[in-house]
């Protein structure tokens, strides 16, 4: 495998430094290098990559391979953005009395993911600051759904009520405000428990996984062609991004390249998804500070994008467009004309909307300095995407790991340090303008050629990481293939899972009436988190 000189240099250094303690090193792709080691190396390997190579731990997940190899595998996914490579550390966990050592004290970013592994695989977590149930609620029986000997259709006793003991905050005048899982607005379910003294929030505990649907387990029972439709339903607002990340993983496993035209159409669709969500969020942020007129204009513009989505892909949320090896539908001259008209019309309309919001001093007063997430906390929690970039996170997979057709353009990534609601909104404003510019560039130079490549049978026993920078942040689909065109494992990581804990920090010291706008400025997916 041809690794770049930068990546080779790091691999050589790691081999020298860790010597025999690295059992194997294997580069599957120029940007995907696997390392095998034992559990006792994880903390040292992680610390070394963080300190010397500016890496970040972008994910932790597990796989049950007890049948063939008598162990569970843990995977630690490191992103080395500067050299455009993912390093993946694979660690075996013995099947008898399985346990693993937590990294959460050193890298709080993996706290929820480690707890999820404990719940779904039954691998005991050692040394975690809060090793309680997370993905499976406390009333669930002692089952571990992602183990291979657990049947997808297992019938469990009905849910009898929440038994999770929430953290108490004590003191004179301190009281709790419970919110959810059924909320007041038209949003997804989750439970928020505020501890407040007067109006300022002292503590916020977030309980999620109400929408857990067994998605990752379900991937293992579907043929991969149906997996695309399932990926579209991981998080509806990011349906195209998830489906494309899933297809990306399949294509990498099969070792096939996607035709140029399909790659450009994919990028255009990803930017359309970014457009309709960002514009909608701008309106929703305005609503939550009682500026309804701005929301009405935003919803009007969002509707325009959705209608063009329908003209281009047959579905307002771009469903059905993604397929392994390319895209399903080509665009004729009239469809491209509709897209051009949308982009031309949206530019000035969007500027006018932004002006409306910026000229409203009462609106700005509510947004400035509200819900601050400091770059230090954002970095500790590994916050990605919009929320990350408003708090100093200078990464975007479109620029650092160019996928789809992003190698054809230069993506400008807005980064701010303030981390308040206003700057999370500003990131969106900048990204809408960038998306319009990118779509213009893509359609001005639309390559001809086939729409998809047929890669025949998916080879068994391969692993591959698919990734996409969705509108909310980085999306990963990691797969291990099985015989018969099926998957033995599909790990799905939505940026929401990474970002939710940050909300508990951003709200501290703010008043409860500001929670909706702070929450909306993150706009995290419950379904993408819970799966």
């Amino acid at each position: 495998m041809n690794l770049s000189p930068d990546v080779t240099r790091i691999v050589v250094e790691l081999k020298e430094r860790f010597g025999d303690r690295l059992d194997a090193v294997r580069a599957d792709r120029p940007d995907e290098v696997y390392f095998d080691a034992k559990m006792d190396l994880v903390a040292g390997f992680c610390a070394h990559l963080y300190k010397h190579w500016d890496a970040r731990l972008a994910g932790v997940f597990a796989d049950d391979v007890r049948e063939s190899e008598k162990v569970f595998h843990l995977y630690y996914l490191f992103a080395l953005d500067a050299v455009h490579a993912f390093f993946i550390l694979r660690v075996p966990v013995p099947a008898a009395e399985p346990e693993f050592t937590s990294l959460a004290n050193a890298v709080p970013a993996v706290s929820w993911q480690e707890r999820e592994i404990q719940d779904l695989f039954g691998v005991k977590l050692i040394g975690h600051p809060n090793p309680r149930r997370c993905a499976l609620h406390d009333d669930w029986p002692n089952v571990h759904p992602l183990r291979k000997d657990f049947d997808l259709r297992t019938e469990l006793p009905a849910f009898t009520g929440e038994r999770h003991k929430l953290r108490e905050v004590e003191g004179e005048g301190v009281f709790q405000v419970p919110v959810g899982p059924v909320h007041a607005g038209i949003i997804e379910p989750g439970h928020f428990r505020f501890s407040v003294a007067g109006e300022p929030v002292l503590h916020l505990q977030i309980r999620l996984f109400y929408t857990h649907k067994g998605t990752e387990k379900l991937f293992e029972s579907l043929p991969v062609t149906h997996g695309v439709q399932l990926a579209e339903s991981v998080s509806g607002d990011s349906g195209f991004a998830h489906a494309t990340a899933f297809c990306h993983a399949l294509e990498r496993a099969a070792g096939v390249g996607v035709p140029a035209r399909a790659r450009v159409l994919r990028s255009v669709c990803l930017e359309l998804e970014r457009l309709y969500n960002h514009i909608g969020d701008l309106g929703a942020i305005a609503t939550d500070v009682a500026f309804a007129v701005a929301n009405m204009h935003a919803m009007r513009l969002k509707e325009r994008v959705l209608r063009v989505n329908e003209q281009l892909t047959g579905n307002r949320l771009l469903r059905g467009m993604a397929c392994p090896g390319g895209v399903r539908f080509d665009w004729d001259a009239s469809q491209i004309k509709a897209l051009e008209n949308l982009i031309a019309g949206l530019g000035p309309e969007f500027d006018s909307l932004v002006e409306l919001i910026e000229n409203s001093s009462s609106t700005r007063d509510r947004l400035e300095g509200t819900g601050i997430l400091t770059p230090e906390i954002a970095s500790d929690l590994g916050v990605v995407g919009i929320a990350g970039r408003a708090s100093g996170f200078n990464h975007d997979l479109r620029r650092d790991f160019p996928h789809a057709a992003y190698d054809r353009v230069k993506v400008q990534v807005p980064v701010y340090q303030v981390g308040d609601v206003e700057h999370r909104m500003q990131v969106r404003i900048d990204e809408v303008r960038e998306a319009l510019a990118l779509i213009r560039q893509f359609i001005a130079d639309l390559p001809a050629g086939p729409l998809r490549v047929d890669f025949g049978d998916l080879p068994a026993g391969r692993t591959a990481l698919g990734y996409v920078e969705g509108w909310r942040g980085e999306i990963f689909h990691w797969i291990r293939t099985a015989p018969g065109g099926r998957l033995a494992r599909c790990k799905v990581k939505d940026p929401s899972l990474q970002n939710w804990p940050a909300l508990s920090h951003a709200i501290l010291g703010n008043i409860i009436p500001d929670f909706p706008v702070v929450n909306k400025s993150f706009n995290l997916s419950y379904s993408g988190t819970d799966r």
Binding site: L156, F159, A184, I186, Y210, G236, R307, E310, L312, L356
Partner: protein
């Protein structure tokens, strides 16, 4: 303030006149799949490619039973790519008052080579609209007329308005995007006196999305129990109607009617705002 008014006046009225005018969907939109049941030769390929089992096919005693269930359909269009007897239409107004009426079944004589011939029986023939060129069912009032009668009905039965509480019982949030769209100036659901409210105690109707996860089952029941009578329940989307691509598994119950009684089903993945509006109007007609 002047600028806000100027912008609003310059924008003008953007609200659709639906249902007085037809749904504004593009010709590319994938709505209801139509199967030419009478000339269908082989249902196996379409059934195999269907991700949710909306198209099903089973053989027994020389008879093949083939069916299309719109309640399960996610409108991906894979069947139409596979089978010439199926084509995707852009028709999106599919809401029904019973789960069964979303399903069409036909029986065929099975041939030795695995294909089938000669339609023997089935409601597919009488269920008009499933056969090309067929007209709408007779006796069913047009939706334009339904819309006309709406204000009077709402006024009579539910006072001055219909109040809706939305519950996400495990959806992917796709349905929520379109439900939120009902409140946009383009669809403006309040022109019918329909409001979304914050509490089930204020609601006449529960609008439910998602396959009903194990973790949301109790919350859904409690929300339903908190509503005053008379109350309506509308199941939204492929997941709400029948579990969608998630179906029934260790974490999902497979649809809203597995947990609480449902008055109207709105197919779609997700149903667009026109389809939702059509479903709400259908539900309100039931209050006669």
């Amino acid at each position: 303030m002047f600028e806000i008014l100027r912008k609003s006046l310059a924008t003008g009225v953007v609200t659709t006149r639906y249902p007085a005018t037809p749904a504004e969907v593009s010709s590319q939109a994938r709505g209801k799949p139509e199967i030419d049941f009478a000339n269908w030769k082989d249902a196996r390929a379409a059934a195999a490619i269907c991700p949710t089992g909306a198209i099903a096919c089973s053989d027994a005693d020389g008879v093949r039973t083939a069916s299309l269930d719109l309640g399960h359909c996610i409108f991906c269009g894979l069947c139409a790519e596979t089978d010439n007897a199926i084509r995707m239409t852009s028709r999106c107004e599919l809401a029904a008052r019973s789960r069964g009426s979303l399903k069409s079944t036909a029986q065929y004589q099975l041939r030795s080579d695995g294909t089938h011939e000669k339609m023997l029986a089935g409601d597919a023939a009488k269920n008009t609209g499933f056969i090309r060129g067929a007209s709408r069912p007779t006796g069913e009032e047009s939706f334009a007329a339904l819309g006309e009668k709406l204000k009077a009905r709402v006024h009579r039965v539910l006072g001055r308005s219909l109040h809706i509480r939305e519950v996400d019982a495990g959806s992917c949030n796709g349905c929520e995007i379109e439900i939120v769209g009902l409140n946009s100036p383009v669809y403006d659901v309040e022109r019918f006196g329909i409001h979304f409210v914050a509490s089930p105690r204020h609601a006449d109707m529960l609008l439910v999305t998602g396959p009903v996860t194990r973790n949301m089952e109790l919350a859904l029941k409690k929300t339903y129990d908190a509503m005053p009578e008379p109350r309506l329940v509308v199941a939204v989307g492929a997941c709400g109607c029948g579990g969608g691509i998630f179906g029934v598994n260790y974490a999902t119950r497979g649809g809203v009617d597995q947990v609480i009684p449902v008055d109207v089903y709105i197919p779609g993945c997700p149903p667009n705002p026109h389809a939702l509006l059509h479903g709400l109007l259908t539900a309100m007609g039931r209050l006669d």
